[in-house]
């Protein structure tokens, strides 16, 4: 699927330089000047992709490189101030779009922001079935801290237990990520369906909610794993 047309949502419908109608093309047909991208452009659109969660990263990279060759400031060094400003802003948008979509977790977080208005940082939530383990870990971390402060002995046993519990948390995180991958598939199938009835809308909302929940638990586990890693260092 090659995208040949140099079309993107732009900030204006007329060229800033020669005032001719640019018809959505990011290089003016008349004077070939680069045009500013719309401030509200979403990252999927910026990279010519549908709002789906499984992305061919090879194709994403090709598209990113192709557009970098269009917008990067290196190619505007001798140009007017306006062209350089447009190049800088467009490049910045493109780079953010690429780095967000390249990583599957950031991609889904971004989709949640677009579709469900989630906060930039989804707050962590402890997975309920791990409550007991998590409480134990908290206690052990505190104990280890005290032992370190007193330069006392007996930390080996706690370290051993923490290592084992770290394994449990990592396994849980793995399971969450596998579930997330399934939801990606589900989301993409829903996105492919052309109908826009109420049932599909509810179904989509369900999927978004589940994804958000998983990310929330995953964030919690990540924080906890980082704390353990720090304590074990």
């Amino acid at each position: 699927m090659a995208i040949v047309k140099k079309e993107l949502p732009l900030a204006r419908s007329m060229c800033w330089h020669c005032q001719s109608d640019i018809g959505g093309e990011y290089f003016c047909q008349q004077c070939v000047k680069v045009q500013p991208l719309s401030k509200d452009i979403d990252y999927f659109t910026a990279l010519g992709l549908p709002r789906k969660l499984n992305i061919d990263t090879g194709m994403l990279e090709t598209k990113f490189y192709e557009m970098s060759r269009a917008f990067h400031p290196d190619f505007y060094e001798g140009k007017s101030d306006m062209e350089r400003a447009v190049s800088l802003a467009n490049s910045a948008t493109l780079n953010q779009a690429y780095s967000t979509l390249k990583n599957p977790i950031e991609r889904v977080e971004y989709l949640l922001r677009l579709e469900a208005g989630s906060a930039k940082e989804i707050p962590g939530k402890a997975p309920t079935e791990l409550f007991e383990t998590l409480l134990e870990i908290q206690e052990q971390l505190e104990e280890l801290q005290t032992l370190k402060g007193q330069k006392g002995t007996g930390s080996e046993e706690i370290v051993g237990r923490l290592r084992a519990e770290r394994g449990t948390l990592e396994a849980k995180r793995g399971a969450l990520e596998r579930r997330l991958a399934e939801l990606f598939q589900l989301w993409d199938r829903l996105a492919d369906r052309s109908s826009s009835d109420q049932g599909q809308k509810t179904e989509k909302e369900q999927v978004l909610k589940q994804m958000r929940d998983i990310l929330s638990q995953r964030n919690y586990l990540n924080t906890m794993l980082a704390n353990i890693a720090e304590a074990l260092e």
């Binding site: 990067h72 190619f75 490049s91 910045a92 780079n95 953010q96 780095s99």
Partner: protein
Amino acid sequence: MARIVGIDLGTTNSLIAYMDGKVPTIIADADGHRLVPSIVAYTPKGLQVGDTAKEQLTRHPERTVYSVKRFMGKGLSDVQDELQYFPYRLTEQAGVIQIHIGNKALTPPEISAMILKELKSRAERFFGEEIRKAVITVPAYFNDSQRQATKDAGKIAGLDVMRIVNEPTAAALAYGLQKRKQGLIAVYDLGGGTFDISILKLKGGIFEVLATNGNTHLGGDDFDRRLMEVMLEEIKTTHGTHIKKHPELAQEVRVRAEQAKCRLSSEKEVSVEVPLPEDGGTYRRVFSREAFEAMVTDLIEKTLSPTRKALVDAGLSAADVDEVVLVGGSTRMPLIRQRVEALFGKPPHCELNPDEVVALGAAVQASILAGGIQDMLLLDVTPLTLGIETMGGVMSSLVRRNTTIPTSAKEMFTTFVDGQTSVDIHILQGERELVKDNRSLARFQLKIPPLPAGVPRIEVTFMIDANGILSVTARDVRTGEAQSIDVKPSYGLSDQEVERMIHESYIFAQQDIKERQRIEAVNEAQSILRATDKALARVAETQDLTTSEEQEAIRQSAAELRQSLTGHDHRKIRQAIEALNRASSPLAERLMNHSLQDALKDKKLSQMP
């Protein structure tokens, strides 16, 4: 487009390069020297830069500045630990280090500008034209203040800095151009004062930096110091000579230590001799490579942890990397080559000259900017996370490390109190949780129209440009109007200070010429005045040779010339000399004819140009 040169402004040595057709080439001086030692000496004979300044290291240690790059964009507290190694006095003023030489206090950007000027004039002699535009390299792990300081140095030197490029990336550009490589490469760059590791993907002419990491305070200088410490300690215990009493000894030992280190890369052992001051005899010592390696092995270990972090950030394992490229003079050490090979599981490439490859890459980037090379594009990253201070002294991140640049982040601000007219924003760079553990870049004061609390909505945009340098703009969302922002850099020169320094460096250059012209004119004036006095004394005895009007005119001209000497304008002095000459030459001629030649000897001499 005007010519753009590429400059590697190094801790130990600096170079300048250009594109000779399709080949990046180092510009050498008339004697064929390619490296300019990054040393600036303010000797009684005047300013010296490079090789001649290097000779002053042991002669005038307190007037010879080296390794100034370690101080770029830093405050005094950042370099407290190493102050003992530097023979010149350092202070701090408004977040900028001041280096005291004689009665002068100079900032690191001003000293760096001297080195840049030396490179600039080298290129100007080579091309026979003025050079105004340059690409300058910096360590990839340089923060915003350090990059800004480098840009300031360029401005002070009269250069338009078209781009700040990261050193390992520049090396990759030169390497990639030469080898036409594709795939994943790691650039391990250990220079005189800094360490960088960058992981790049090379594909179809695009050089995409995936991750970078490093340590801006680790390099060859630290290896020298390990040898130095051993030598100084031994000199103290066996010869009773203490460096505190002999600052020149510290430099002598440093220079010998550096030489010994370099030789130990090719030799199994070296003997070092240091003549001691006050007839203290000679200190002799043999160092084996093995012993030296044992002294520095922990320093080499310190490069491996950033290397592993960069791999993690790039989402790669060491085995994924296709090629490892070594850059920087320190990578000549066999132990470093072994450690790098062990980490990546493949022998590193060392066929490129590690001292020159960065400057060559800067020339390649310069050519890309000038539109010469059109099929290559470098996509670099910001090395450190950018954030702002939030409640409780915590840093909230805006742009994460290893984000491709240019990039921007937006943040909405509002007020908490009715009629509040400003919001303070503290900008930070670093990877730590707490504000105090990160680098403070600047404080901004955002002006807000007085409205009920929470009503103003000010959108602040943080833009990191392709140089990795931050700029901040603000906009009132309701009115769409731009909001004013007061920037106070935490470590660095304000725009006004840079302007003043550019002006001063220009003025100083002008003043140097003017001063020389003034001194020449004064000398000539004094000589003609002496001759005139003598002539007037003689005519007093032989009344018939001159009229009183003529004598009065000569005296008047002589007085005017004396008056002009109190000023600084050499042209006024010259004019007064001319006037006196005109007034006195008829009399001089008559005196000549009167065979009063002895009175005229001085005068005639003085009239010679």
